[in-house]
């Protein structure tokens, strides 16, 4: 159990990251990394021509340092076969399965570069369900990050043995989580020091007896979620030993049944208690606020359920970050074509204001259906830029007319955050802009150079690793790895950079958010002032201040036992 604040003692250790320093380069770009790194994954959606909603919904990907060697490994969620009796226009070989790529950083051409090897079999990850998303967290408090794979089918929990392999611990979830799960988050809702599990769930999809829907042209098309019944999300409480019990009813989560796609845990609405923000597809979003015993739903009055016009939108991915550097977390939710991605700016008192159009985000997002989303500082100016993957969910007539079997390809986009008030197109990510059926997006510093790279997934296509070129100067960046007393990422820890002028820039340790994906739990700042200090607030409220932060390394803060 978590020690009391009064008893707490804290230890600080510094772990130096990549030691190779190199001068900064002009025009930072997110460059697509090729096969030379060993990074390769192709998503199989199992489509058969029946236009099942399931086949174009997944899948995500996650960063996880499963072997605790200090670099990020990649977990790519695979689709699968929906109807083995029907031929697919996109045939595959073998049995589709989730894929674990182990990263072994190498020094080449004077810089540190990722090198991946397929570790799926060696890692014992025999995970062959029809996959949707991935969440990471140390469920049994042994310091090793574990995996949850959400599926169209039955969700699977994979426990990290600590020897480079995983074992199937799905039975520890208690009652099997069946149906259609999407994004999930490991979050301590009852403040007892262990990660509980919130699982977003989508709709009750009748695979054997599908409903037929049509495009405006009358062509057979994919259905939207309104054609089906929403299903209730699930909240599983960790008993403290890595086994779970369903407390959806106890906390009142089962009051609503909405089609959830995005999930992120946050403390945006205040320092006490945790909230879980859920993006629903075509229905008002939810903001669950926990007091340890029950959950209240507060999205409407907080101003994050619907857009400024009162319209519920097709919520897909979700991000919680301090986009305007004012010390609190703002929300961004990605949406359907003809809907904007929507930016809910935190007014600092638990209330939010939709400032989408004023930032220019409306124009940047209306043309595409967006899913994965990450705020990362591409140009190192201290403002988080916005990266988004996109791919349609309704057939694009021109692509269908060209005979494409999956006519849903759209370009993703990158928007530059000018000053915390305007987002403008940023032509620095050709690998993101290249059309595809974009879905997941996971941010992480794959080469430990202090900037953030991206892993983007594509339904029916190849995943793309986008590495931010132009290594930041040694002193330019500040990185923190905050861990709990067991050594696992201390999700929910808030870090505030306090500038000499009183400015606050907030980051949160998390692995959730985006769409079906899991991010790097480490946090980075770039473009900071020379002077300043760092305030770290652990989930239980204890604080520590770092007066002269060391730059150019990932500093590890480990929560100490009482």
């Amino acid at each position: 159990m978590r020690p009391s604040p009064l008893q707490a003692a804290l230890s600080v250790a510094l772990i130096f990251g990549a030691a190779v320093a190199r001068g900064g380069e002009e025009s930072p770009r997110l460059e697509e990394v090729g096969a030379e790194t060993g990074f390769a994954f192709h998503h199989v959606n199992g489509m058969t021509g029946l236009r099942h909603l399931v086949e174009m919904t997944g899948a995500g990907a996650g960063w996880i340092d499963f072997d605790s060697d200090g670099d990020l490994d990649a977990l790519l969620v695979q689709g699968g076969v929906l109807d083995p009796d029907r031929p697919s226009p996109e045939p595959w070989q073998g049995t589709p399965h989730d894929t674990l790529l182990r990263n072994d950083l190498v020094v080449a051409d004077g810089s540190v570069q990722p090198r991946f090897v397929d570790w799926t079999a060696a890692g014992g990850l025999a995970s062959e369900g029809y996959g949707m998303g991935v969440a990471t967290g140390d469920v049994n408090l042994d310091g090793w990050p574990d995996l949850l794979i959400t599926n169209f089918g039955t969700d699977r929990l994979w426990r990290n043995r600590g020897d480079g392999s995983f074992e199937d611990a799905s039975a520890d979830l208690g009652t099997p989580v069946e149906g259609w799960s999407t994004s999930a988050s490991f979050v301590d809702v009852d403040a007892d020091g262990d990660p509980d599990l919130y699982i977003g769930r989508y709709v009750d999809y009748p695979l054997a007896d599908p409903i037929t829907c049509y495009a405006p042209s009358s062509r057979v098309d994919y259905c939207g979620p309104s054609a089906f019944r929403g299903v209730r999300d699930r909240l599983l409480r960790n008993r403290g030993d890595g086994t779970f019990e369903d407390v959806s009813g106890l906390f009142g989560i089962d009051r609503v049944a909405e089609p959830a796609l995005g999930v992120v845990a946050t403390t945006a609405a205040g320092e006490t208690g945790v909230q879980i923000y859920v993006a629903n597809d075509g229905r008002p979003n939810l903001l669950w606020s926990f007091d340890g015993r029950e959950a209240g739903e507060e999205a409407l009055l907080a101003g994050v359920a619907v857009n400024r016009m009162g319209e519920p939108e097709a919520g897909m991915g979700i991000a919680a970050e301090d986009f305007d550097n004012d010390g609190d977390e703002d929300f961004l939710v990605t949406h359907l074509t003809a809907e904007t991605d929507t930016l809910y700016v935190n007014e600092g008192d638990g209330l939010f204001e939709d400032r989408t159009l004023e930032t220019g985000l409306g124009e940047g997002s209306l043309a595409v259906t967006s899913f994965g989303v990450s705020w990362i500082d591409v140009d190192g100016d201290g403002w988080l830029d916005l990266a988004v993957t996109s791919g349609a969910v309704r057939i694009l007539e021109e692509q269908a007319a060209r005979g494409m079997s999956l006519p849903l390809e759209q370009p993703g986009h990158l928007l530059r955050n000018v000053d915390g008030r305007r987002l403008v197109p940023f032509d620095a990510a050709p690998g993101l802009a290249r059309p595809g059926v974009g879905r997941g997006l996971a941010a992480g510093d794959v080469d430990n150079d202090g900037d953030t790279d991206l892993l983007a997934t594509y339904n029916g296509g190849d995943a793309r690793l986008l590495e931010l070129s132009g290594r930041p100067e040694h002193g330019e960046w500040l990185g923190v790895r905050a861990t709990d007393l067991h050594g696992a990422p201390a999700a929910g820890t808030v870090l505030l950079w306090e500038g000499p002028d009183g400015s606050l820039i907030r980051r949160t340790v998390r692995t959730d958010g985006s769409y079906l994906s899991a991010r790097d739990p480490r946090v980075q700042w770039r473009g900071l002032s020379t002077d300043g200090s760092l305030l770290l607030r652990w989930p239980d409220g204890r604080r520590i201040r770092w007066l002269q932060p060391v730059r150019g390394v990932y500093a590890t803060f480990r929560e100490a036992a009482p």
């Binding site: 009748p206 495009a215 369903d246 009813g249 016009m309 159009l357 209306l366 043309a367």
Partner: protein
Amino acid sequence: MRRGTAGAVLAILAIGSAGAQEEPPTPDLSALEPAVAEQITVLRTGVDSLEGTSAPAEELAAARGELGMAYHAYGMGDAARYWYAAAAAAAPEDARWSYYPARLAQQEGDLASAEEDLDLLATRSPDVPQVWARLGEVQLDRGEAAAAGESLARAFALSPHDPGISFLLGQVALSERRWADAVAHLERAQAGAPRADRIHYSLGLAYRGLGADELARQEMEKRGDVGVRFLDPWDDALTDMETGERLFLLRGRQAFAAGAYEDAAAAFRQAAEFAPESARARVNLGTALGTLGDTDGALAAYEEALEIDPRNVTAHYNVGQLLAGLGRWREALGHLRAAVEANPDDEDARLTEAEALLRSGDPIAAGARLSEAHDALPTSGRIAAAYARLLAAGPVLEERDGARALMLAQQVYQARPTPDSAHLVALALAELGHCEQALEWERKIVDAAREAGEAELEQRASAGLAAFSRDPCRPGTTP
């Protein structure tokens, strides 16, 4: 890529100077509904019959433009753009052929082109309110609140009673944080469109900006699904191009989702007319009519659907629920059984079926069904609660099973400790003869209700106290 005026002019020049140098797009119509493909083919034939003849330019423009509208309505943007340009080449003074490409650009997210074209059009046709309103809407989406305010003010001057324009003016005021102005615009919009309950939310935001938190909360909580849009007969004409069962189904579903149930019913009726053998059109019609409170009409629609497709699960489920709601329990039974057999995971169908059996005077069958349901869906708290209630307080005393009822009730309470589940535990204890314990549970409910100021719950629980105070305290009938 922008597709604004420059592109349109090039196309006009090509068509205007040499008849049709650029080959018109010919989308593949093979995957479309026959009625849609036929409509497009007929429109294209009409254009071809006029090309190269001495037909008046307006007639040729109308034929080309209407073909463009059809392609536009069916989501074939490239072909629509071509034919709009061709129409504009034949009749450049007709504002519609400039308006529709701008509308198309807006729908495709190319707001810069849309604004550029609408801006030009507004200068040429300053007396058309929807042009100014559309321009204002595009400018608002581009984050140009000041310009949007000016355009919308022009639209308002031309059409002051259009609540859709007032709503957009309210959005501009919200964008500029002119809270009092926003309240004024949005209240006018709400007065002009009282059914548009979505406006309440924006109004609530405006009140919140003014610091009137309680008013803000009241308005936001009134938010519903019905929105408002400004009058635009040209846009309506696009929608009117759509034809065929699938299109009316789509239109009906969109109207239903927006809470416009009468429009939805009308669209579903048209879909049914297009397809005499379509069960889905009739099922949707039944749902819309049922939502409107026309139960007779809904039942008739469902019956028609079941005549066409006797195994239609949705129709069975909806008829069953509708009849149950009307208290026609016996009639509901067959339909609910069909729904359960087709979808054994359907919690609602199983619960309604059990209730229908109970209310039809067959509690034994109800118990059997609930037992089956509990076996099939062991994690369903609602089924466990219903089953526990019947086992503890069902009308057939010899069918009761207090021990099993208590076990189920405790599981339900553990998952969700509400007054209802506590009362369930009390009922089971009473059935087992543990009157003191039952009283104790019921007292807890009374105390909690009193503390929370829940008078109705307190009154109900007090009645329970009286019942459990009797000797014997075994529940006599189903409460």
